[in-house]
Amino acid sequence: MSTEKVKKLKFKVQRFNPEEDRAPHLQEFIVPVIHGMTMLDALFYIKENLDSSLSFRSSCRMAICGSCGMLINNYPYLACHTQIEELKAETLEIKPLPNFAVIKDLVPNILPMGLKHRSIKPYIIRPDAQEMENPTAEFCQKPEELNSFLQFSYCVKCGICISACPTSASDKLFLGPQALTQCYRYCADTRDNGTKDRFPVVDTDHGVWHCHLAGACSEACPKGLDPALGIQLLKRLLVTRALGIGRKQPLVPIVLPPTVSKLKIAAPEFSVPPIQRET
């Protein structure tokens, strides 16, 4: 028998049906909340028990898919990653993520973010393209080289940084902190040689130079990515390249896997004889 305290909290959820409503409005629900419930649990309760027409995105419920970004009490959170008690409020106001068009209720249209992300070529570009398509060997990347961009590779494309960014609020053509940080993630990757392909995309009027270090993107990022740091490091890359003082980053070499003869020398105590390879 559960002796947990159940609190009834008021949830004001923004509703907008594009086929019926002219403008969005807030609808109130009373939700029983127990210790440990997330905002997403509350939204599912509303959908299952109170109003099944409520629409919102969710998938993994563990902050790895990036689907459930919402504006909760005027701050962008991942709904699955936010405890209701964390907000310490009697009334919770849930609105869709700003700086994106709204498709319905709490569902934002994040296609612009995807298009901008694609425009900065988020894949490894190397001169030996065949090696990327049909790999024969391993990239020999040192741990320090990995750590220089690893933090920025944890992006889940939730769009919360774009909601926080003041430039993205007024400038629809701005690439946004997500695309710019991913651009740096690939430029800093020593396996990649594609900076000359990416620089013309970010060195534009609505590229990296409209970032003014407000830092709200880093503050709001639910995965601790620090997009502001990535973007400023990208600026440094661009300036050093433009002034001609950049250090040329050598491409990591590829290392062939060890051959069978080396395996034989390394492990002589195998009771089973090693497989004889036909040369």
Partner: protein, 147 residues
């Protein structure tokens, strides 16, 4: 099927001022913009006064200067000076941080996350303290009739 409405949910320029409960660094950026615009506006007026009125000779120039002698204008001049102090000191911080110098290195994120700007919060506090100190020193001079 009824006409589909698309709700554009952009904050617009109001999003520069307020978009949620963010910390001080976002407002440093906003204030940098406001002081910058104020200084550009003052520059245009200052250029007009210093060229158009100066070439017309000593008489006209001194009439205009006497016009500017009243307390409202003097307070405005102090505000311009204060705007310069803030814009300059924040600008020096931005020169360092936007080139990635005083911003730390990428580190794998460990919860609870602390991003590089928050880690360098002491720099922001030092800058604000310097702005206040300079503004007070100038205020002392202003009150003592230095203007």
């Amino acid at each position: 099927m009824a006409q589909r409405q698309v709700k554009e949910n952009y904050f617009g320029w109001r999003g520069w001022v307020w978009a949620g409960r963010y910390q001080v660094e976002r407002y440093l950026y906003l204030f940098h913009r406001i002081t910058g615009l104020g200084l550009v506006l003052y520059l245009m007026l200052h250029l007009c006064v210093m060229t158009v009125f100066r070439v017309q000779g000593q008489g006209i120039y001194e009439i205009i200067m006497r016009l500017f002698d009243n307390p409202v204008f003097k307070a405005g001049e102090y505000l311009v000076f204060a705007a310069f102090i803030y814009h300059g000191l924040n600008g020096l911080r931005l020169i360092l941080q936007e080139l990635g110098f005083v911003l730390g290195k990428p580190t794998p994120p460990v919860y609870p996350y602390k991003d590089s700007l928050r880690k360098k919060r002491p720099l922001v506090l030092v800058m604000i303290a310097l702005v206040l100190i300079f503004a007070l020193v100038v205020l002392f001079d202003f009150v003592n009739g230095g203007f």
